[in-house]
Symmetry: C2
Subunit: 306 residues, 2 copies
């Protein structure tokens, strides 16, 4: 039951051969959630051996090209490869117009349906709930409307201790009750204690994706205590006025948000192409939030069960 | 005065990390002509160190995504990098609608103008004429409307022999006359023979790009005697019915066209991802047209002066 993030692209607006534009993929229990889809995402998925057929949900944070220009090729490739299962797409309302215009003018008919859900720019919004995870969007502060996304594992049922079933001849209903943290009262008057017969399952894990944004404290409430936070860090602090102007964050600002939100690990990315090395960006963040990592294409971050 | 083709993408519809989708760039006298623009073309341009600022003309053969999905990112990057000089874009009429819809819905305003010229699907058409080259389109036979492109160097003026200017005290007008192959009659009655005072310049060079098409003999007239022919070769001959069905050519068919047109060199590409190696495709073509090469990303073909 993995909960693991892979970086597919870590550059800001301009891609380079070794740093594509933004795309992340979260593996939650072998379901793959694609988060933003910069140009060449389908190539990166192949490079890092992530099967297209495992992707059922794509989340687009905002309508700057470096966050969605890979969608055209990926959706076309799904089609070409014979996809029939629906795709769930979450993004800015106008993304739907764009896709309709592109494929309409091309005369390309998709052989699978695309269920489109527009983002809410005002409030935190529940986008998706499966048996395993919940996904929320929350507003950011960029030059155009932009959202972050929060992926939270659901609380897992408790684990039955190995010998309990045999020792007490437990029925299915009794097992479910115990795993849900309820004591079982038998007709005989015996009480089976869930505390004795089950162990707590692992703590639900979480990943927050903070896409393009200025330093924006209101987002802290949405990402508090997450295991893994990605926060864009386009510039060094010495470029803070440029960051403000272009709607981006500095590495120091990303770290401050991580610290305030008491997250466990921070990954910074979306680096301006002006930086030949990410070392200064990383150092600046680590001075404030030591457990920081600099994203690179192909890098994975596993959140272990605890 | 180079005349050199670089392959930026050599895969058919589905890109792979080592083979991007179709894009070629022709360097004619240090002007770079981009021919088709599959996803990731801007990344390949950077990888092969071709400066964006040297591109003034882009030619799109047809509206299948693997031939133009890289355009969105490239045009946006031009913008971001401060381009002011106009871009000339040649392609299917609906490409204009697509670009307008994408950038319109994104709210992205280009700070340079895009001069768009629609392709003609019926006849050979002169698209562009500069001092150095002429570019034509010609119709192909694909599943949708598709064009090939022919790049022809212009006939160059003759070269003055080294000592002529000094020996005969030539004026500028006289030099131009001689270089244009005209004898000069002086007021003194002397006649200066262009044959004696100039040498023939090199033979104009040519490159023909045959994009997605079925085997289509009418195109032979348009590409006769070219120095370098690129012809798509998606399949091996054993897949000829599949080629027919999907509007593509086999390697053998590409070679037959090259032979009929008496071209000097053939490059095949747009290989189906089913082929792990291009060796069988190359062998099949070479059996008919020995001077054949299999395209690979980053490969360059110089046409030497002769």
């Amino acid at each position: 039951m993995r909960f693991s993030l892979t970086i597919l692209g870590s550059s800001s607006a301009l891609p380079k051969p070794d740093r594509f534009t933004t795309a992340h993929v979260l593996n939650a229990h072998e379901r793959f959630y694609l988060i933003d889809c910069g140009e060449g995402t389908q190539i990166q998925l192949r490079r890092y051996k992530i099967r297209f057929s495992k992707i059922h949900h794509i989340f687009i944070s905002h309508l700057h090209g470096d966050h969605f220009f890979g969608l055209f090729g990926l959706l076309s490739s799904f089609n070409l490869m014979g996809r029939k299962v629906p795709l769930n797409l979450y993004g800015p309302e106008k993304l739907k117009n764009i896709l309709d215009a592109v494929y309409g003018n091309m005369g390309e008919k998709m052989n699978y349906s695309i269920n489109f859900s527009p983002l809410n720019w005002q409030d935190k919004q529940l986008l998706l709930e499966t048996e395993k995870i919940s996904v929320y969007s929350f507003p950011l502060d960029h030059k155009i409307q932009s959202c972050g996304f929060l992926f939270k594992e659901k609380k897992q049922a408790r684990n039955l201790i190995k010998t309990a079933k045999e020792d007490y001849d437990l029925g299915i209903k009794e097992i479910i009750q115990l795993k849900n943290g309820e004591d079982v009262k038998r007709d005989t008057g015996d009480i089976l204690s869930y505390k004795l017969l089950t162990n707590k399952s692992f703590t639900p894990r979480s990943y927050a994706y903070v896409s393009d944004t200025r330093y924006y404290e209101p987002l802290v409430d949405h990402i508090r205590d997450v295991d893994l936070l990605y926060h864009e860090a386009t510039y060094l602090e010495e470029m803070s006025s440029q960051a403000q102007l272009t709607g981006h964050s500095t590495s120091m600002e990303a770290a401050r948000i991580a610290k305030m939100a008491k997250v466990k690990k921070l990954v910074i990315g979306h680096f301006s192409t002006r930086y030949k090395s990410t070392a200064p960006l990383l150092e600046e963040a680590q001075n404030i939030f030591p457990n920081t990592f600099a994203a690179a294409d192909g890098m994975s971050f596993d959140v272990e069960k605890y």
